[in-house]
Each structure stands twice: as structure tokens, then as C-alpha cells.
């Protein structure tokens, strides 16, 4: 959840606050014995809405510049290839719409299409279209 909120360009402190707020709201709903059909989809939906609201009223946080592929024990040649690939993916991500990126992130978090649709307020078929466009763009980038 925290990492998903970071993708809204929230600074880490705001992302952490929003994360805690989401779970308190969940607790509040449960305390009132209201039914939530799919808690996972519900928390991401609330996170999504709170994330958007918070971003509007706070300065955007620029994430660090380093690639998502930190140096590790891998072979230097593999590291170079990994970094190159990460750079290509990041460039491709910049060309996607915000919704396409969010759909990708949510799917990477393990949400089902129905849950993603509920979270970002679109239809399931739209999720499918967003995802396909995003993946095709990524494929073109890493070819």
C-alpha cells in the first residue's frame, strides 16, 4: 500500500500517513459492522482516492534518480543489462497515462482485474484495455 502511494508522487511521510489513514477507515467501517465485499479492493480504492486528494494539495515529490535495479552481487554485465532494461521501462512508463501506470502497479501488487476496476473506478474491460496498451508499450521498449 505504502509503495503504491509513492507512485502518486507523494513524499514518503505523506504516503505513510495516507497508508495509516486507509487502515483506520477500514477499522471504522468494520466497527460499524458494515459489510465490505472485497476488503483488498476496498483498501486500494480508498488509498487511490486519498492518494489523488493528497497529491493535489501537496508538493510533488521527485523520486530518486537511481535505477530500480540496485547494484548487487550479480555479474557486472548482468547489472549493466538490468540497468539498461530498467531505464527503458522507466522511459516507457513516462509515456503511459497515469491510469495505465496505476493499473500496471495494482496488477503487480496482485489485484485482479475486477479489484483494479473497483479501485480506480473504471470498468473491467477498460482495465483490460489499459493493461494491454501498457504492456504493449513496455514490450516495444524492451525489444
Amino acid at each position: 500500500m505504502y509503495h503504491y502511494l509513492l507512485t502518486f508522487q507523494l513524499d514518503p511521510a505523506s504516503a505513510q500517513d495516507v497508508t495509516q489513514e486507509v487502515f483506520l477507515r477500514l477499522y471504522s467501517v468494520w466497527k460499524k459492522e458494515e459489510q465490505i465485499r472485497n476488503p483488498r479492493a476496498w483498501v486500494f480504492k480508498v488509498a487511490h482516492n486519498l492518494g489523488l486528494t493528497t497529491r493535489k494539495r501537496s508538493a510533488r515529490w521527485e523520486p530518486m534518480e537511481e535505477s530500480a535495479y540496485p547494484a548487487g552481487a550479480a555479474h557486472p554485465e548482468c547489472q549493466a543489462l538490468d540497468k539498461e532494461r530498467a531505464k527503458l521501462i522507466e522511459e516507457a512508463l513516462h509515456e503511459l497515462s497515469a491510469q495505465q501506470r496505476q493499473v500496471l502497479h495494482l496488477r503487480a501488487e496482485g489485484l485482479k482485474y475486477r479489484e483494479i476496476a473497483d479501485a480506480i473506478g473504471v470498468r473491467v474491460s477498460t482495465v483490460s484495455v489499459f493493461l494491454t496498451r501498457a504492456v504493449k508499450r513496455l514490450r516495444k521498449a524492451i525489444e
Binding site: A15, Q16, F23, Y27, S28, V129, V135
Partner: protein, 493 residues
């Protein structure tokens, strides 16, 4: 002509989100769609890896997670409660924290199986498997095209629509899974294994479990639970140690060695297919053909000396290597036991219909002979179609294409003979059978070969019901199945 799946559908299929069984079946059987899926899957996986690493590298939360009671104090009044609420909230946050950071790895069954099928190459030559049920136990090659042995198990697999030739494979598991319209999947992630389980309410097979080794996604065990309480376990039984049989004719080992390797071309594959066809070794003999680097390796299990010599003499082709493997004693013994298990007497009414034609034993022999012949030809034809997809056929010269079509034509002609005999036999029991209008499959011979194989398998299964206690009730269905194959064969004229 059947339409290919859209990219949305292929991606949904990779994600285990495709709800349309028809499209799913198409993708599973369409090489072109699977290749497109592989491309999308690669990009999708790359993003998954990127996202994982990005999370690892992301800045940690700057503060410790606040105690729930502190958070409750700043929440609106309507959401506040007493001390118990604070404790509950604390527990809740703790649970979420544990869930979030130590949640088990989530794996989609469809995606995992898709990856496994594209990752695992063909079964290694000489690999064997053990199949164990309550009544039978056998050790056999992992890929087995012999049609006459293990009859009870083979029929059980056929009735469940589960591939008998290669039961410990991702392809067979997926094919069965995709043939089931209502199903429930789960993936248990263990330290060394992914255990995929599929349950269904319909069909003969109610649950199947396939264990994939995590390191290379290779299937290592399969468990099948049938609706009649039969259970079957399939596990790897190692590679046959004797690469060349001690019982082989003298001098074969040296002759079996491959000539210096050349590039494996479509022409070379056709030469091998033609050589095997010429000696009838493409009709269910335990022979596996696979590429290994620049060589085609032929692994033959348990052939007698005459057939072994024939095989080696026919395959003196540069770039082709023949390996002869002896059968294990346990395999031979169990096969005999299983085959004998099918000889059951029919109902009296059934037997009366044969009066004036055949004794029961003669009739059974003829039916089994015709069925075996038909299924062996249908399988050989399907295997040929799979070995030479359209793209590979295009690499052949006109003359070579004619050879390929001639091999297919031979199988079809022989199949017609078997089906005709089977129809005559079935007509004795059900003279009222009506002719069937063929359902046209289309112009491509590969699609027609696949259709013939499916119909033959259905007929084989139906024919086996002739020997069940309620055979009389099934006579119309048996005759109808035979007539459907006959009708499908008409499309080849």
C-alpha cells in the same frame, strides 16, 4: 476460419482472467496466439521484476508506524471508542503489517502453467515415469505412443480427457484444465515446489494436482482423483541407465552413432519421418524423436532385434542418432497384468446379437484390432501435423511437400479401412445406425488431422463400452461415434 484471440484476450489469459472458455481453448491450441502471448508475457514479467526491485529500493517510511491508540485520538469522534478499540486497532494494524510484509507469494495458476509450458522443453530421451493406482503400477517412458498396453489406465485417462501419451507434462495438465468449463485453481507455494491444484464439479476427473520444481518449472509429480474414488499418482522414475540395451544385436552400438552433426532442417526432419513411416515405426512403437543441438535423436525402448536392425538401417542419415533402450522387467510384467484385466464377458442380450456372425472372443478381437489400428493411424497423423506446422512445411521443396502429403494420405487411407471394419462390426449390434453428415473442419490438413484424432479417441472410448455390463444401452452411441469418424474421413477425399 477461426479468428485469433485479441491481445486483450491473450493478456487476460496470461493473467488467469479470461472468462471465455472458447477463446481459452483456441489460444491453447494456436501456436500463433501462444507466440504473441509469450511476447506479452515477457514484457509483463519484465515489469513485474522492475516493480519488485523498485519497491526494494524505495525509501522506507520515515517514521515508525504510529501506535493505534495515538491514531485513534486524532480520528473523528464518530470513529473513536474506548480502550478496547485502541487495542483492536493496534492488533488490526499489526495483522495488516504482517500480511503486507510476510504475505505468501501469490501465483496465478494459469500464468504459472503458461510459463512452465513455454519454459520446459521436450522430455529428455529415456526419461521414465511411474504410474500407480489402487490396482495397477507401471513404469514406462514419459512420452509413450504405444496404444495397446496399460489398457485400463489408458481408457480411464481417455474418459477423463487427460493425455495418456505424456501424462506427467504441463501440456497435458493444461489441456485437461482448459477442457473443463467450471473449475477452481489454487497454487501452494512450497520451499522447492509450486503445487497447482485444479478442482471441478463436472467430468470423470474431479481433481488434479501438478507439482512443478521451482528452479526450472519442470513437472515432477502429478496426482489425479477420479469421481469413482480411483486415485493415480505419477512421479518421475529416472532416466533409463542402459543407453543401449545389452540384448541388442551385436554391432548396433557403433552403427547407432550419429554421423557428424548437420543443421536440423525441415528436410532432415522429413527424412526421419519418412524413414520411420516406411518401416511402420510411426504407429505406436515406443519411439521418441527429439532435437538435441544439431542432431535428431531417436530413442527406441524395448524393440526386438529385428525391428532394431530395421530402425538403424533406415536411419543411416547424417545428423541422426539412434538410441536403443531395454524395457524394465517390472514394466513388462505389469503391462500384461493390466491388459488381461479388460477381458470381461458381455451381457447375455449383447452376446445373442452376435449369433451367426462371431463368437464373443472373435468379435472382441476384431473390434480391438480395428480400434487400435484406427487410433494408431490417427495419432500418427496428428503427430505428423504437429511436427510440420505450416511455417515448417513452407521450408520444404515442392517434392518434399508431396512426400509429406503422401505420408498423411497413407495414414488416412489405412484409417478408412479400419473404420470400415469397425463400422461393419458395430452394425451387427446396431443395424439401425444412421449416416452422419460430416461437420466440415476446413481446408488445413492439420486441423482435419486434429479433428480425426479427437473423433478416434472418442470412438476408442465408446468401443471400450462394448465390454461393459451396460453395453446394450450404449450401442447407438458407439455406432454414432464410428459413423462420425467415417464422415470426417470423407473430408479427405
Amino acid at each position: 476460419m477461426e479468428r485469433h484471440a485479441t491481445e486483450e484476450q491473450i493478456l487476460a489469459w496470461l493473467d488467469g482472467e479470461l472468462a471465455d472458455a472458447g477463446v481459452e481453448a483456441h489460444i491453447a491450441g494456436c501456436e500463433q496466439c501462444r507466440v504473441r502471448g509469450s511476447d506479452l508475457g515477457t514484457a509483463s514479467d519484465a515489469y513485474g521484476e522492475y516493480w519488485k526491485r523498485r519497491k526494494q529500493q524505495a525509501p522506507p517510511p520515515p517514521r515508525t508506524w504510529k501506535d493505534a491508540s495515538e491514531l485513534m485520538l486524532r480520528t473523528p469522534a464518530h470513529a473513536r471508542g474506548g480502550a478496547w478499540m485502541a487495542i483492536a486497532a493496534s492488533v488490526l494494524l499489526g495483522v495488516f503489517a504482517v500480511w503486507r510484509f510476510s504475505a505468501p507469494e501469490k501465483v496465478s495458476a494459469a500464468e504459472l502453467l503458461g510459463k512452465a509450458e513455454s519454459t520446459v522443453s521436450t522430455t529428455a530421451g529415456g526419461m521414465r515415469i511411474e504410474i500407480r493406482s489402487k490396482r495397477d503400477k507401471m513404469v514406462r517412458p514419459a512420452v509413450w505412443r504405444r496404444t495397446g498396453d496399460g489398457a485400463r489406465l489408458r481408457r480411464l485417462f481417455a474418459s477423463a480427457n487427460y493425455d495418456w501419451e505424456s501424462p506427467l507434462s504441463v501440456r497435458s495438465y493444461r489441456a485437461w484444465r482448459e477442457s473443463v468449463t467450471v473449475r477452481s485453481d489454487s497454487v501452494d507455494v512450497q520451499p522447492q515446489l509450486y503445487v497447482v491444484r485444479t478442482e471441478t464439479d463436472g467430468g470423470v476427473l474431479r481433481e488434479a494436482t501438478l507439482s512443478l520444481r521451482k528452479s526450472d518449472l519442470r513437472p515432477v509429480a502429478c496426482h489425479l482423483e477420479f469421481r469413482d474414488d480411483e486415485q493415480i499418482d505419477i512421479v518421475e522414475a529416472g532416466v533409463e541407465p542402459e543407453a543401449v540395451s545389452a540384448e541388442k544385436p551385436a554391432g548396433l552400438a557403433a552403427e547407432a552413432k550419429a554421423q557428424p552433426a548437420t543443421e536440423v532442417t525441415a528436410s532432415l526432419e522429413l527424412q526421419v519421418a519418412e524413414a520411420l513411416h516406411r518401416i511402420g515405426a510411426d504407429l505406436g512403437d515406443p519411439i521418441e524423436v527429439e532435437r538435441s543441438g544439431g542432431t535428431i535423436v531417436i530413442t527406441a525402448t524395448g524393440l526386438d532385434a529385428r525391428k532394431s536392425e530395421q530402425l538403424i538401417a533406415s536411419l543411416r542419415i547424417p545428423g541422426v542418432e539412434v538410441r536403443l533402450v531395454a524395457p524394465r522387467q517390472s514394466e513388462v510384467a505389469t503391462q500384461t497384468e493390466s491388459a488381461n484385466g479388460t477381458a470381461r464377458r458381455p451381457a447375455r442380450e449383447w452376446e445373442q446379437r452376435l449369433t451367426g456372425h462371431y463368437t464373443y472372443e472373435e468379435f472382441a478381437d476384431r473390434v480391438l484390432g480395428a480400434t487400435e489400428g484406427m487410433t494408431a493411424r490417427a495419432y500418427a497423423l496428428k503427430a505428423l501435423a504437429e511436427q510440420f506446422p505450416a511455417a515448417k512445411e513452407e521450408q520444404l521443396s515442392m517434392q518434399e511437400r508431396a512426400v509429406l502429403r503422401a505420408i498423411a494420405g497413407n495414414h488416412v487411407a489405412a484409417m478408412r479401412g479400419h473404420v470400415q471394419r469397425l463400422d461393419q462390426l458395430a452394425a451387427i449390434l446396431d443395424p439401425a445406425g444412421e449416416s452422419v453428415t460430416p461437420g466440415l473442419v476446413g481446408g488445413d490438413w492439420r486441423a482435419r488431422a486434429q479433428r480425426l484424432y479427437e473423433l478416434s479417441a472418442r470412438t476408442d472410448l465408446a468401443a471400450s463400452a462394448l465390454f461393459s455390463p451396460d453395453a446394450v444401452a450404449n450401442l447407438a452411441a458407439i455406432r454414432a461415434a464410428v459413423l462420425q469418424v467415417a464422415a470426417a474421413l470423407e473430408e479427405w477425399r
